[in-house]
C-alpha cells in the first residue's frame, strides 16, 4: 500500500458508506443483463462467501442490493451479474469499463455448499437466480470429486434468455453435471424426474418466491429433509446491516439472518400472504 492508501484506510468508511470500485471488465449476458468485474480503487479487495450480497451504488443515482456472482477465492475480482429492472440497476448495467461505482458489503448468510460433501448437490435457479448460485456452482466444479450427482435445474421466463450458457455447457460436458434447462420449465416436475438420494441431497435454490416454494415442497415431499433445502430470499434490502427494518419477514432480518435460509426456517414465514 502507498502512504495515500494507508491514510485512506485509516479513515475507511463504516458499513453505511460505499467504497469506490472500478469496473475492470463488463460482459453483456442477455439483452437486459450484464456482468461487471470490480476492483477497489483504494486498499485491499473485500473477501466474501458464496451466497452473500453487496449494496451497489451508482453515483448520484442510488443503491441496490445485488448478489455476488463470482467465485469467492482470494484474488478474484468482485463479480456481479445485474439485470436492468430500475433506475439504479440501469445505471449499473450500462456502466462501462473504467467507471467507478460504490460498494458496501459483503452482507448476509452463505450457501455452504460444502455441507453436501459425500452426497448429491442440486442447484435450482429461476432466471437471474442463477447468478447468486454461481459461486457455489464454481465451488462444486472445483471440488467435483467430493460430490456424487450434481444437478442444475434452470428455468427462465419467455424472452428472458439464459445466463452463462458457455459455462453451463462446460459444467455439463466436462464436469459431469446433470443439467435440465427450459423456458417456463416445470421445476417441480423436473425435480421429480431427477435421480438423487433424498436423504443425502443438499439443494440450493434461488428464484421467485413461488418457484422456490414449489420446488422445496416437492423435494420435501420426496423425503429431502427441510433443513437440506436452502433458499435465497429477496426482500427490500436497504442498509444491509439489520438496522433499517425494510427487509423484515416476521422475526427475520433478511439482510443479516438471510438471504439464505433453510426451508425449515421459512415454512411458517411463507405460509401467510404479504407477511
Amino acid at each position: 500500500m502507498t502512504a495515500t492508501d494507508v491514510a485512506r484506510e485509516a479513515t475507511a468508511p463504516g458499513p453505511m458508506a460505499p467504497r469506490p470500485y472500478r469496473v475492470v471488465a463488463r460482459r453483456q449476458d442477455t439483452h437486459d443483463t450484464a456482468t461487471l468485474d470490480l476492483i477497489p480503487l483504494y486498499g485491499e479487495q473485500t473477501r466474501w462467501r458464496s451466497g452473500q450480497f453487496m449494496m451497489l451504488y451508482a453515483f448520484g443515482v442510488g443503491e441496490i442490493a445485488v448478489s455476488i456472482s463470482g467465485g469467492a477465492l482470494p484474488g478474484e475480482p468482485l463479480r456481479h451479474t445485474i439485470r436492468d429492472v430500475g433506475a439504479v440497476s440501469h445505471a449499473l448495467v450500462t456502466s462501462r469499463v473504467g467507471d467507478v461505482i460504490g460498494v458496501r458489503g459483503p452482507f448476509g448468510t452463505s450457501w455452504d455448499a460444502m455441507d453436501a460433501v459425500g452426497g448429491d448437490l442440486m442447484f435450482i435457479a429461476g432466471g437471474i437466480g442463477l447468478a447468486p448460485l454461481r459461486p457455489s456452482i464454481l465451488e462444486a466444479v472445483r471440488r467435483r470429486g467430493e460430490f456424487r450427482h450434481v444437478i442444475l435445474l434452470y428455468g427462465s421466463r419467455p424472452g428472458e434468455g439464459f445466463l452463462f450458457t458457455d459455462e453451463i455447457e462446460d459444467w455439463e460436458r466436462n464436469h459431469g453435471f446433470t443439467v435440465r434447462q427450459g423456458v417456463r420449465a416445470g421445476l417441480a416436475e423436473m425435480t421429480s424426474r431427477e435421480e438423487f438420494d433424498p436423504l443425502r441431497t443438499l439443494t440450493l435454490a434461488c428464484g421467485p418466491d413461488i418457484m422456490m416454494e414449489v420446488a422445496a415442497k416437492t423435494l420435501v415431499g420426496k423425503g429431502v429433509p427441510g433443513e437440506k433445502v436452502r433458499l435465497s430470499m429477496e426482500r427490500s434490502m436497504h442498509c444491509g446491516i439489520g438496522l433499517c427494518g425494510h427487509c423484515q419477514l416476521r422475526e427475520a432480518f433478511l439482510c443479516v439472518d438471510g438471504p439464505v435460509f433453510s426451508y425449515d426456517q421459512l415454512v411458517p414465514l411463507l405460509a401467510t400472504e404479504e407477511l
Binding site: 468508511p13 463504516g14 453505511m16 467504497r19 443503491e63 467507478v100 460504490g102 427490500s236 443479516v256
Partner: protein, 381 residues
Amino acid sequence: MRTMGLAGLDELVEALGRAGYEVFGPRVRDGAMVLAPISGVADLPRGVGDTQDAAHYRLRDRGDERLFGYATAVQGLKQVLFPSHELLWRARKTPIGFDVEEADATPPKPRAFLGARDCDLRALAVHDTVLASREYADKPYQQRRDGVFVVAVTCADPGGTCFCVSQGGSPKPQAGFDLSLTELLDDDGHRFLVEVGSERGAQILAEVSTAEAVAADTDAADALVATATASMGRTLDTEGLHDVMFASADSPHWDTVASRCLACTNCTLVCPTCFCTSVEDTTDLAMTTTERHRVWDSCFGARFSYIHGGVVRESGSSRYRQWITHKLAGYQDQFGLSGCVGCGRCITWCPAAIDITAEAAALRASLPATEEDLQTVGETR
C-alpha cells in the same frame, strides 16, 4: 435518600450546565408537551397536565404547582438521540472516481434529559439493544448516546392511554438513570425526593443543596407511586401474547383494522422504539456532489416493502399486522424484549383512534385456539 426544593432543582440544572451538558426538559409548545432545551426551572411547565385518549390530546390546567404533572411528552428521547433526519455521508466526484466523507453525529455538547419517564428509559434500553448491541452498530446513534445524562422523574399522573404497568414498567423509574426524582407536593411543601443511580449522578448531586429525606418524604413518594400504578388508562394482557400474535397471522380481524387504519404512519413515528429508516439521496445538478440522508420511515408506507416488480405488503391489513406483530412478538425473537413499553403514544396520536391494546385483545378473543394449538404455533417458530 435526599430531598431538594425548587431552588435545588434550579441548582441541578445549573450544575449540569457547568458540567458541559445541554439540558433538555419538558416545555409547552403549540398546546402540547415537548422535549426542548431548558436553562432552568422557569422554563418548565407549572401546573400543566394532559388529557389523553385515543386520537385525543389536550393540555389542562391542573390547578396546582406541579412541574411534572403531565403523563408523556409528544415524543420520547428518540427525537434527540435518533433524530428524524440526519446526514450520513457526502460524496464528491474526483478525477479518478469519488471520495466519501462520513458525517460525525457527535453532538457539540453531551445531552442531559430532565423529566424522562420510566417508559422513556425502557424505550432507550430497547434502542440501545437494537441499535448498539448487535453485530453492526448504528454509529450515529452511538455517537449521540454516549455520555447522555438522565434525570428521571416519577410519573405522578399517568394518562388515559398509558399501560406501562402491563408491559413490566412502572410510574417509578427503575433503571437507566443517573438521578431519579419524585415530585412531592403536600403540606410539607413542594420538593423532590432524589435517588442516585450512578456515580456521575452522585457527583452532580453533590453540587446541589439537598437535605436528608425523612420518613414522611419516602412514605409520600410510595403512596404517589401506588396511586399512579393503579391509575393506568389502559391494560394489555401479555400472557402468551407472542404466540397469540403469530397465531393471528391469517385472522380476519386485520381487515377490520384496515378499514379504519389510514396508513398515515403516525403510530410508528411517535413510537419511542420504532427504528425503521430510509435513506434519501440528494444530488446537485452538476452531479458532482451527492449526499445520503437518513430519515424516519414506517412500515405503513407502500414504498417501504417495495422491490422491483411490486410491493410486498400491498394491503393495509398486512401493514398493520406487520407493525403490531413486530411490536408485540417479533422484537422478542429478534432482541429478547418487547417492542412496546406501554407509553400509549401510538393510541393517543393515531388520528383514527386505533388502540393497540384493544386490537391485541380483539385478536386474542378471535383466536379459536386451544392451549395445545398455541403451543404448536410456538414450536414451529
